[in-house]
């Protein structure tokens, strides 16, 4: 096989980068603005095509996964430390690239319609292109530092896109929050990189994995700390406890952004990173359980909050956090296949859900509140059924994509619990099942509320999505229609949704085995703590069945029960829901206020820190500067005391001079006589 044929993959990040520059140029002129979307779509699509072209090269002749390092140029080299612009291509990279460029293309096409007429049209596509550049760099990076570049790069794009409607203070605040919370995680990541270099003297994956393969299973303490530091970065980027707070607020961005960045791709970077560095995580006996526990806790936590939210996008945001929790659970039980599989299916159905939510929002002039809409299926039939498929997948309805992947995670967890006789994993699996029920419930709560029941709606306050961004009078036809009544969106926007819906329904079934092969051929393959490492003989059974099969039955039941419950409370008998809510008013209030975590953060971290800032400032001005000024005060006093001597009278100086002379002469005389 010709190794260098794969080098064409090096262009994958740079096409979107070029597109970002071109779109940036488009920003400057109103005439060029319309070019931005085609350029961006073309670039991402081209990247997708390149991905497909490079795809065959990551397998050897026997179909086993191999890796290639494709060197582009020297980036940082100093004193033995090397971090180059080079790309590491293996099956895991390919999976991620397909998700990123594939979903990216679809979302970009959707956005071309969705953002039409927006004042920041070109700016949007510039940022999206930049994001694709950063994200592809992230998944293709050959070393930790380049990964970090992509990592921070996607954070930047997230910042720019959340704050896209920068006239809205809430959007700016959300953007800032996202960046800063991510930075906290990034610090952990950076320290992890330092420690990795410190311990292994390299940050390049190919070398690192080679070293790790020969590591003794009893790793030293510093080595065991590395995964915990990296984990912090992953938690920040993938919105896990306790660093999840930025993601719900990130919904201030345009909906395609929420779909692409905050659901399908960027937030899964943490999952990718742990999967990529799985050999490192395996070195510590505590790292993976921690990941699993945090993942499950996050899943549960976010799912409960999602139960009581009314904002469609926020519900999906919490749902995303919850689903990411599942992925971390999958990683935590060393089932990287399941985690990446869920990542893949989630990308499809969550992107679909966000984009359909965007369609609803689009047609209701920015209205997102569940309480102000109902029975929309008559107005927007296509959107209605597209979202239905997405909801099915999210709820884990049998044979949809989410069903397979979620199932695999839960089954692997349970298996680990049963075969290893570990109570922890059993509990986690049960909790995961409970979250599955909650997921099915809140998903369909939303769908029934929006599309079922009597047709009733209030248009949003805003003329578009976000603030009024048409002061220059540029307004599309769609915007004018807003003022009349809701409508179905055009087919430019619906076409990508159809593809996504197909993915949401079929990806699970189709990719079921493929993903396993891909992961087994990559660095994410568990070596030490693989499930069933003790051999097939210990393959656990449940109710006399193969565990995976049993889990399918269980979760199917749970999904159906969840959907049925939601149907009862939110479609057939909405009054009952209100009564239940009234009965549990306290709990509902806590959940509706997201456990008051934002308030807690504000009063425990932000305000005290800012107060310390003020204290420092005062200290700086008064004490430190004061001290310096006091030091300066002493000569000043001397000066003040001597000042009368210099009063400008000629004879005053004369007296001084004569005195000086006399004293000097006197001194000389005293010495000599």
């Amino acid at each position: 096989m010709d190794d260098r044929a794969i080098d064409i993959a090096r262009l994958i990040p740079w096409l979107p980068a070029l597109s970002a520059v071109v779109c940036g140029v488009c920003c400057t002129s109103r005439k060029l603005r319309v070019l931005a979307a085609p350029v961006c779509i073309a670039a991402i699509a081209a990247a997708f095509v390149l991905t497909l072209k490079a795809y065959p090269h990551v397998f050897d002749d026997h179909g086993h996964g191999v890796f290639h390092v494709s060197w582009l140029f020297t980036w940082i080299r100093v004193g033995g430390f090397t971090a180059d612009m080079s790309y590491y291509l293996d099956p895991l990279t390919m999976v991620m690239l397909i998700v990123v460029t594939g979903v990216g293309t679809l979302v970009a096409i959707y956005a071309a319609g969705y953002m039409a007429g927006d004042r920041g049209y070109a700016r949007f596509f510039a940022a999206v292109s930049l994001f694709i550049f950063a994200m592809t760099t992230l998944v293709m990076a050959d070393n930790l530092v380049l990964l970090y570049l992509g990592w921070e790069g996607v954070g930047l794009c997230s910042y720019l896109l959340i704050g896209f409607y920068y006239d809205k203070p809430s959007a700016v605040a959300a953007a800032k929050k996202a960046f800063i919370v991510n930075r906290i995680g990034d610090l952990g990541f950076a320290l992890g990189i330092f420690l990795t270099y410190h311990q292994f003297a390299t940050v390049q994956f190919s070398e690192l994995f080679q070293i790790l393969a020969t590591q003794p299973s009893e790793a030293s303490t510093p080595v065991q700390i590395i995964p915990f530091l990296l984990m912090l970065g992953a938690f920040g980027k993938s919105a896990q406890l306790p660093l999840y707070v930025w993601l719900p607020d990130a919904m201030e961005g345009p909906t395609p952004v929420s779909a692409l960045i905050h659901a399908a791709t960027m937030v899964t970077a943490g999952v990718y990173m742990i999967a990529r560095l799985f050999p490192l995580f395996e070195l510590s006996p505590y790292a993976l359980p921690t990941v699993a526990i945090v993942g499950t806790a996050t899943a549960l936590f976010a799912a409960t909050i999602a139960m009581c939210q009314y904002d469609i996008k926020r519900i999906y945001a919490y749902s995303t956090i919850s689903q990411l929790g599942y992925m971390f659970l999958g990683l935590g039980v060393a089932s990287t296949t399941a985690a990446v599989f869920h990542l893949l299916t989630h990308a499809f159905f969550k992107a679909l859900l966000f984009l359909t939510a965007g369609s609803v929002m689009h047609s209701l002039a920015g209205q997102l509140d569940l309480r102000h809409m109902s029975g929309m299926r008559r107005k927007m039939p296509v959107t209605c059924w597209l979202m239905f498929f997405g909801c099915l997948a999210l709820a884990g309805f049998p044979f949809t994509a989410g069903f397979y992947s979620k199932d695999m995670i839960l089954a692997d967890t349970l298996q680990k619990g049963l075969t290893g006789h570990s109570t922890l994993y059993t509990v986690l699996a049960v909790a995961g099942l409970f979250v599955a029920f909650l997921t099915a419930f809140y998903t369909f709560r939303l769908w029934f509320r929006v599309f079922m029941g009597p047709t009733k709606y209030e248009m949003g306050q805003e003329h578009g999505h976000g603030a009024d961004h048409h002061p220059d009078g540029v307004s599309s036809d769609i915007k004018v229609e807003h003022h009349h009544e809701p409508h179905e969106v055009n087919w430019l926007m619906n076409a990508p949704l159809l593809v996504l819906a197909a993915g949401a329904l079929l990806a699970g079934y189709l990719a079921h085995h493929w993903i396993g092969d891909m992961i087994q051929g990559s660095s994410a393959r568990p070596l030490r703590q693989a499930i069933g490492a003790h051999g097939a003989a210990h393959h656990a059974t449940l109710f006399g069945m193969d565990l995976h099969l049993a889990m399918m039955y269980i979760s199917s039941v749970i999904a159906v029960v969840g959907i049925a419950t939601a149907a009862y409370f939110h479609w057939l008998n909405r009054g009952a829901a209100d009564r239940v809510a009234a009965k549990w008013a306290g709990l509902v209030r806590v959940l509706a206020n997201k456990y008051y975590v934002d308030e807690l953060n504000d009063s425990v971290i932000v305000r005290p820190l800012r107060f310390i800032g003020y204290l420092c400032f005062v200290f700086d001005r008064l004490i430190i500067d004061g001290l310096v000024m006091t030091v300066g005060f002493v000569p000043r006093m001397f000066g003040l005391a001597l000042r009368p001597a210099q009063r400008g009278a000629l004879q005053g100086y004369g007296i001084g001079m004569a005195t000086g002379t006399a004293v000097v002469v006197l001194l000389v005389l005293m010495v000599y006589f």
Binding site: F73, V78, E152, G163, A173, A190, Q199, A201, G613, G632
Partner: protein
Amino acid sequence: MMYSPDQLLPLLVLIPLVGGLALSLLPNQVVPAMAFVWTVVTLAVSVVVACLAYQPIDGNPAVTFLSSGDLFFESFIPWVDGFGLSFSFGLDAISLWLVLLTTALMPLVMLGSFSAIKHRVKEYYTWLLLLEAAMIGTFVATDLIFFYICFEFTLVPLFFLIGIFGSTQRLKAAKVFFLYTFTGSMLTFAGVLYVAWFNASQTGLWSFEIAQLARAAQAMSLEQQTWVLLALLAGFAVKVPLFPVHTWLPLAHTEAPTGGSVILAGVLLKLGTYGLLRFALPMTPIATVVYAPTIATFAVVGILYTALICWVQKDVKKLIAYSSVSHLGFCVLGMFALNTIGVSAAVMYMINHGLSTGALFLCIGMIYERFHTREMARMGGLARVMPIWAFFMVFFSLASVGLPGLNGFVGEFLALLGAFMARDVLGVGYAVAAGFGMILAAIYILYMVGKVVFGPVLIPEHDDQHQPPYPSGHTHGKHAHVRDLNAREIMTLTPLAVGCLLLGLFPTPLLSSLKPAVDKLVEPARLVLAGRPHGEATIDEVTTIIFIDPTVQHGHPQDPDAARHGH
């Protein structure tokens, strides 16, 4: 006979000096343009110097002037022979890059000042050119006294730039700036004179050649070195400025005219770090090793402390000024890691900070020129009315925050890595603590960007009280027509943006050219460290706490290369 490039360095100092003096002969109208052209000429000469430095010697592309780490292009103009005084010039990679930074910033400063300075034009540009001469002189001097003369002379032009062209509190600022830094550097002068005396008493010959003094000073006892190090710190730490002697900086920065702020942040602060690099490391290696943790502690405290202060500022310029203190903390931290990575990072950081913070000051200056205010509460959402400006502002803010791909990241990351790797000197605790500075940097910069660039549009009403003493010619009635950047302003910022991006993506030509020189600087400290037994009190306690088991830690090899073989 081949042309000798040795005379280029005196020329490099003389060009701006002569240019500055010659400006006074020109009519007022052409002064700004001529000053600009003149700095471009200087830039061209410095680029020629750089090209010659990179030229292969004897046709071997691997061997250039830079590859040995020695001084090159040395030349001497005798001065006082009896005391070994001469105007001696020489370059190594570190000074070459700093000279390039100086000469590259200067034309931009000139360009950025065209509309801001309308009165006493001639003085302004004359002082700037003299300042450039002094700064270049500081970087190329290899004679102690010559270095010191140039170092001190930088104060004079800046004193007048702040005092004449600054804003409301300019006189106080100029005075504080001058006295603060001057007092410190007098002590430094005493310290280096002591070293010169020591050298004379050892060798019987007076010499002020820095390299010779460094060789001689290494023979001093720890106590002597400590005093010398203290004296060096008195001048250079004030100049950097290192916490807690930083309080002159916010005032000076805030009150200085834009051009002055840019030069101050861009180059003058680097004189402090450059001084530490040139003197502290080679002259007092023992004291440096012993006190590196102390100095680094001050650096780290400064990083966090000033970052927190930045967050509560109301004045944009003051915020950026305080952020300089925070940033240079990273630089000092990297430097006192005393390893190749850290010191290279420190040099890289000097250049990065010069570019990005200089550019931020230019951006703020453009706002000040339009609105005559720097208060964040009075402006907002400028992205709506000045999108091009907003682009640059956000770009440079991100460079300042250390976004990978831009220049700030490389320096910051490597400085932290250097501190992290320097187990014998600093250690993990310093890197972790300084790492929180990265978070705080994001907080305050985004806070500023969020207030000024984003948010609802708020354009400051013009306020007479905030009018500078010499208002620009630009009319500013109702802000109905806030104009975005014009071509000249874009031309001012674009080179800096390109520089940030280039250094962010291709730092290696810089880093690899620095390596020989940096290795030379680090060598004395490395020897001291090599001679010291492990496990003494120098092993960082914080490391021990983080790595619960100290025995594991001691078992690990110090050297990354050794580690590679070990595993």
